[in-house]
């Protein structure tokens, strides 16, 4: 009798634990300001919503390749101007609204409109018009051939939004993805649950919780205590050896698109002088910085492009660490020793710690850097939106985003007609070899002008429970795509 009872109890316990393994709690450093990826630049928005809540016509997979999503297939006309997308049928939004070509027309039209608040408006600028020959076909005609168009349509910024919910998507996101939004506890967590009406294969997980933990110490503690199942961008690389030594965890170091830069306000003195910007580039030892700030995880960069992207040119030797040269350039530009600049530092550890190291390097060439820590919302508002800053440390996680240097207005205020001309050529290039050549030229131009000091490519230091399968090891775009994540049996 007792034995039977024990067996039953064991079976019940096993069942209970097996049942518990269809939820996931995942740690993130930054909390998204809102949840509409078509209306904000913060990567954290995509890190919650991409592929999980919202989908676009196409998507970017873990390898950085374009894959079908709401478009099952597509054809491109030989002149590169007409994209014909075959849409999936029977797709509904989480609120029951149907998805068809009208949604595509609405979403692309909204993103490209004059009053659009899309952070990547440039992606949609080449679109001349969108037509719907039938509800399951979308024909997008471009003004000119655009090399990166399809890749761009895989970004979170090109997500399909339902006209009915678009006004409230910031706080109550409604998409077509396999998970729907359930709850947002500000400052703490966002919860998603499986959407039973999903058009594709149902995900293995039933609930997903994103928790926001900025402090590296708290992140380490939460992981070690098992409060989190995964921290895909773990903020404390120095504690990695400790985590790695623990068989409960998997540690994977991959790559991201994160171009970590000392962004300079090129419209402000003294950074309007290219000699000063170059001097700062000479003043900082990138390898040592990576060692000190990221415990050696990360790769130096010499332009706004990461080594894993097509057409990468190694320009890390353009400004070798050379404080004497930096001082000479500063003197030439008339910047006196003792000049004070302010560096605003957002919360991530790469910025807060990086700022301290950079300040020490600048001190050696006679520039006093005043460090001002700012909260994330404050950074987005003052630095990013209003361009009110001297310098800041930030990682740009959008893939292949050379376009930001060609924009009329962007927070670091780089304006170069030669660069813009090059960029237009690149966008219009149809021949892949010509494209790669131009990508190289763009990088060289940036290294030459050094609008910002290019520091390093952020590594993706991922830590998760050893029983988890299907986590992304690299971040070709900012995302925590958990649609293929499951627990090992």
């Amino acid at each position: 009798m007792i034995r039977t009872f024990a067996v039953v109890l064991a079976a019940l316990l096993a069942a209970a634990s097996a049942q518990a393994k269809d939820s996931l709690s995942l740690g993130m450093v930054l909390e998204p300001p809102h949840l509409d990826p078509t209306a904000g630049a913060a990567s954290a928005i995509r890190e919650v919503t991409y592929a999980n809540i919202y989908e676009g016509l196409v998507r970017i997979d873990a390898m950085g390749k374009v894959q079908p999503a709401l478009a099952a297939s597509w054809t491109i006309s030989p002149d590169g101007l007409t994209y014909t997308f075959r849409l999936r049928t029977g797709v509904t939004f989480h609120d029951g609204a149907p998805f068809d070509c009208a949604t595509v027309m609405f979403s692309y039209g909204r993103a490209a409109a004059a009053d659009s608040v899309n952070a990547q408006k440039g992606l949609f600028e080449p679109i001349a018009r969108t037509d719907c020959p039938d509800p399951a076909t979308a024909v997008v005609t471009l003004k000119r051939p655009t090399a990166s168009f399809l890749f761009g349509m895989g970004w979170g910024d090109a997500a399909m939004l339902s006209p009915a919910s678009v006004a409230t998507d910031k706080t109550n996101p409604v998409g077509t993805g396999p998970f729907r939004f359930t709850r947002w506890v500000r400052g703490d967590r966002i919860e998603l649950e499986r959407f039973p009406g999903y058009w594709g294969a149902a995900p293995k997980l039933t609930t997903v919780t994103f928790r926001f933990i900025t402090d590296p110490t708290a992140a380490v503690a939460a992981v070690l205590a098992g409060d989190l199942d995964a921290f895909p961008n773990f903020p404390a690389p120095e504690a990695l050896d400790r985590v790695r030594a623990d068989s409960r965890f998997t540690v994977v170091v991959g790559t991201t698109e994160g171009k970590t830069i000392l962004a300079l306000n090129d419209a402000r003195k003294p950074f309007d002088d290219v000699r000063v910007r170059r001097a700062l580039a000479y003043a900082i030892d990138r390898r040592a910085l990576i060692e000190a700030v990221m415990s050696g995880y990360g790769a130096p960069i010499g332009s706004h492009y990461v080594p894993t992207d097509p057409g990468y040119v190694d320009l890390t030797g353009v400004y070798p660490y050379d404080p004497a040269r930096a001082k000479a350039l500063l003197a030439e530009a008339g910047v006196r020793p003792g000049t004070t600049i302010t560096i605003k530092l957002p919360p991530p550890a790469y910025a807060r710690r990086g700022g301290e190291v950079i300040a020490a390097y600048l001190e050696q060439v006679g520039i006093t850097a005043k460090l001002v820590p700012v909260e994330w919302a404050q950074w987005l508002d003052t630095v990013f939106r209003r361009s009110d800053f001297d310098a800041t440390v930030i990682s740009h996680t959008e893939a292949r985003d050379l376009d930001i240097y060609a924009r009329d207005t962007y927070y670091f205020n780089y304006h170069s007609e030669p660069y813009r001309a090059l960029f237009r050529d690149y966008q219009a290039a149809v021949d892949p070899r010509r494209q790669l050549d131009l990508v190289g030229q763009l990088q060289r131009r940036l290294a030459e002008d050094e609008p910002n000091v290019f520091l390093f490519a952020l590594a993706k230091v991922g830590v998760w429970n050893a029983g988890l399968r299907g986590m992304w090891t690299n971040s070709p775009i900012p995302a925590n795509d958990v649609t293929a994540v499951s627990w090992a049996e």
């Binding site: 910085l289 060692e291 300040a359 390097y361 460090l371 820590p373």
Partner: protein
């Protein structure tokens, strides 16, 4: 008595060491405290770096010394603010009659209702992080402490015969307070100063720890402790040294306070 003397000597010595270190850091530290040397990061204690180096290769001893300067100056200003405003308020409450007394004491009750560090966090959060605001924040929560101690001591002294005598010969309330009451409670206030000084050092470290005190790159003990946390598996000593510095500072000041009390308190004699 013997115990008191030991306290006084030991506390005095530790405090002197600390003050000496802080003063020395103004003109000399083994290395500049903000100087980074990444090649030699996380070095163990050695002849070149007595207390080792931190993740950026900064010399820990130099940072502890510069941190002593920062901690002591924050504590000094904070206690000066607290005593400078609190003592006159307390004296006023003691001498000013029922209404003034009630007003001052209820206000200080209100201030007391908030935990001290929370008050400091609130002030620092409102005024922004930084050394000056840490001084102000800690100073403000010191005001009611000094006001209460002063009032209590002054009221008990005012009942003594020599005060009655002074009043009998026609001295004004102000003169009685300044010439007779305050000098007679100064020993007690001095002891309170050392206690508050120790608490201010802990508060300063606490504020710096949560990022509201002294800002980088200026070294501070509290932030050194915070920075050391995630490195605790690699380099546990990084957390030990600033922790030890805070402990020693508080211990030294408390011993000094105890010693002074035993020495100065007429009841102990």
């Amino acid at each position: 008595m013997k115990q008191g003397r030991l306290n006084l000597v030991l506390g005095g010595a530790i405090t002197a060491l600390l003050v000496g270190m802080a003063l020395a850091s103004l003109v000399w530290t083994p290395y500049p405290p903000t100087h980074i040397d990444i090649v030699h990061r996380l070095a163990a204690p050695s002849a070149a770096h007595w207390l080792g180096t931190d993740p950026f290769g900064r010399d820990v001893l130099s940072m502890i010394m510069a941190g002593a300067r920062s901690s002591l100056s924050v504590a000094l200003i904070a206690v000066a603010v607290g005593a400078g405003i609190g003592i006159p308020l307390g004296a006023l409450a003691a001498a000013g009659g029922e209404w003034v007394d009630q007003a001052v004491m209820r206000a200080s009750d209100l201030a007391f209702a908030f935990p001290a560090l929370l008050t400091a966090v609130m002030i620092a959060a409102l005024a922004g992080p930084g050394e000056a605001n840490a001084m102000l924040a800690i100073g403000i929560f010191n005001i009611p402490v000094f006001a209460r101690v002063t009032r209590g001591a002054a009221l008990s002294v005012r009942e003594r015969d020599y005060i009655t005598a002074a009043r009998a010969v026609g001295r004004s309330e102000t003169a009685v307070m300044l010439r007779h009451v305050l000098p007679n409670i100064s020993a007690m206030l001095l002891v309170q100063v050392t206690i508050q000084f120790a608490l201010a050092i802990v508060a300063d470290a606490g504020l710096a720890y949560v990022g509201l005190g002294t800002q980088p790159p200026d070294p501070s003990w509290g932030r050194m402790l915070n920075d050391a946390q995630t490195f605790v598996f690699h380099a546990p000593l990084l957390a030990v040294f600033p922790g030890l510095a805070i402990t020693l500072a508080v211990l030294g000041l408390n011993l000094l306070g105890d010693g002074l009390r035993d020495r100065l308190d007429p009841r102990g004699r």
